[in-house]
């Protein structure tokens, strides 16, 4: 008769230990790239941060010159992401509402869900080339070619699947009893969705929207084909229809320059980009955690 006490040497216990440590080890390795990347950028980029950076235009590359700042790229990223959000949020939330509230699981909604998943997997450069072919090369928007506007549209394609999916999933989490309650006192579908279900799902939708924005803000490839790059300040509304700088493309351009000053600027831009994406992500986590807490008791 075996003893009831735990025996270290038993082969099942040895195997159990081994797999526990193996999985912990893999988990550690998977987090390493993030830690190294963030620390490296913090050190390399953090050192370049100064007030001029946020104010000045970048100077043209040259070895004897000061590099200047990244103001146009910073504002450009804000503008392009805002345009993307203005397009993707209403369309995405609307599509998510259709999927979660109106569709009855028929072929059409299955097709849309499948399509959204495919769109989420489309490489971002394809979105860029697509908008290039559709808008840039055809000069369809007021005859302008490369423009911040085109860049925003390209990024909206990348945001769309995230927004649709999180809206769909957020609305599905709203208990059906709440819908029945509203419909049971004679509310129409439209009132029920606007007044009851959407407000209940608001935070989870907002979380998804923020994650979508964070993803779009860091994209480079689609912007190379659409917004291109600009060294100059954004001064007015009209600048939307010309080439526009962005942090991601600035990093891409300046990191490849042979001059040290430009490289430093690229590091600084990396720092700012990573920090803003990180903070948007953290903010969305806080929002999500807050949602958990305020759920029905």
């Amino acid at each position: 008769m075996n003893s009831l006490y735990y025996q270290k040497r038993l082969s099942r216990n040895v195997g159990d230990k081994f797999f526990t440590y193996l999985s912990v080890f893999c988990a550690l390795i998977s987090i390493l790239p993030l830690i190294f990347l963030v620390t490296y950028i913090l050190i390399k980029g953090g050192a370049q941060i100064n007030a001029d950076l946020f104010i000045l235009e970048p100077n043209p590359p040259g070895d004897d010159l000061d590099a200047g700042g990244i103001n146009p790229a910073l504002i450009g990223t804000l503008v392009i992401t805002t345009i993307a959000s203005i397009i993707a949020i209403p369309v995405g939330v609307g599509g998510g509402i259709y999927l979660a509230e109106y569709s009855k699981g028929g072929p059409f909604s299955r097709f849309i869900r499948f399509g959204v998943n495919v769109l989420a997997g489309v490489p971002s450069i394809i979105a860029g080339v697509f908008i290039y072919a559709l808008i840039v090369s055809t000069k369809i928007i007021f005859g302008s070619m490369y423009s911040g506007f085109a860049g925003g549209i390209a990024l909206s394609i990348l945001m769309l699947p995230t927004v649709i999916k999180t809206t769909d999933e957020g609305l599905k989490l709203v208990p059906n009893e709440l819908r029945y309650a509203s419909l049971g006192i004679g509310a129409s579908m439209y009132t029920t969705i606007l007044k009851i279900t959407l407000p209940s799902a608001f935070r989870s939708i907002a979380t998804g929207v923020l994650l979508g924005i964070a993803r779009a803000a860091g994209e480079t490839a689609p912007l190379i084909f659409t917004a291109l790059f600009s060294y100059y300040y954004i001064t007015g509304f009209g600048d939307l229809f010309y080439e526009m700088g962005s942090l991601a493309v600035l990093i891409y351009n300046f990191a490849l320059e042979p001059y040290d000053a430009q490289n430093k600027l690229a590091w600084a831009a990396s720092f700012i980009l990573v920090m803003s994406i990180l903070s948007v992500n953290i903010f969305s986590r806080i929002l999500a955690a807050f949602t958990e807490k305020t759920k029905r008791i």
Binding site: L178, A181, S182, L183, G184, I185, G186, T191, R296
Partner: protein, 269 residues
Amino acid sequence: MIKNTKKTPKNIILSLENVFISYGAFEAVRNVFCNFKKGDITSLIGPSGCGKSTVLRALNRMNDLIPNCSLKGTVMFNGTNIYDTRVDPVEVRRRIGMVFQQPNPFPKSIYENIAFGARINGFTGDMDYLVESSLKKAALWDECKDKLNDSGYSLSGGQQQRLCIARTIAIEPEIILMDEPCSALDPISTLKIEETMHELKKNYTIIIVTHNMQQALRVSDMTAFFNAIEHKEGDGGKVGYLAEFNSTKKIFNSPKEKTTQEYISGKFG
């Protein structure tokens, strides 16, 4: 207004004629004929799976929300078949309100919970008065008059259920449907809801599904006993039917059907 297509006796507010309800290919309830009298409390009792909740949901077209659910036959409400293609289910639900098994207040304040339904139904009168009178009718006013701005979830389960009843009363329906309104509640809350129902009887027709036979006996004037039998085709599934419908006294004291007798004496269920 859709024309009256058939005459029903004057005091009958709702009448089921040869109703069949199925979920996809599965037949849940068949052959139901049943008249609900105005001002009565009618309880629907029967073993699980006999389709009593399905029938109840059919009465204000809540079944529309369940995919694949279809109904054959007619449900006449004040002389109109509510399953007529020209009928707007939203309008039906305004006249026939529903209280559910689980208390489901809106994630809003107590005041807003009641005002919401009234407002979307175009109520323009004195909202404060409406909220107060609805809460009074649901016997909840004394308990929550000082915290109308608190969330509906801050109330206890029994209070939440009475809030749901108040919310339904506020839209002034003609009929209130209740789907096992006390099954999630403790005995004291149950008793309070039953007292509320007695109060409501003066103004409304109530149809209640209950698993609790004592409750049916306590609150209702009429009782419908539903039962389930095996399909004739013998595929193992069961189909519900209305076994007996009579005054509550007769159902509990001298039922005509043997199965009714067996069910109320607790031999199956």
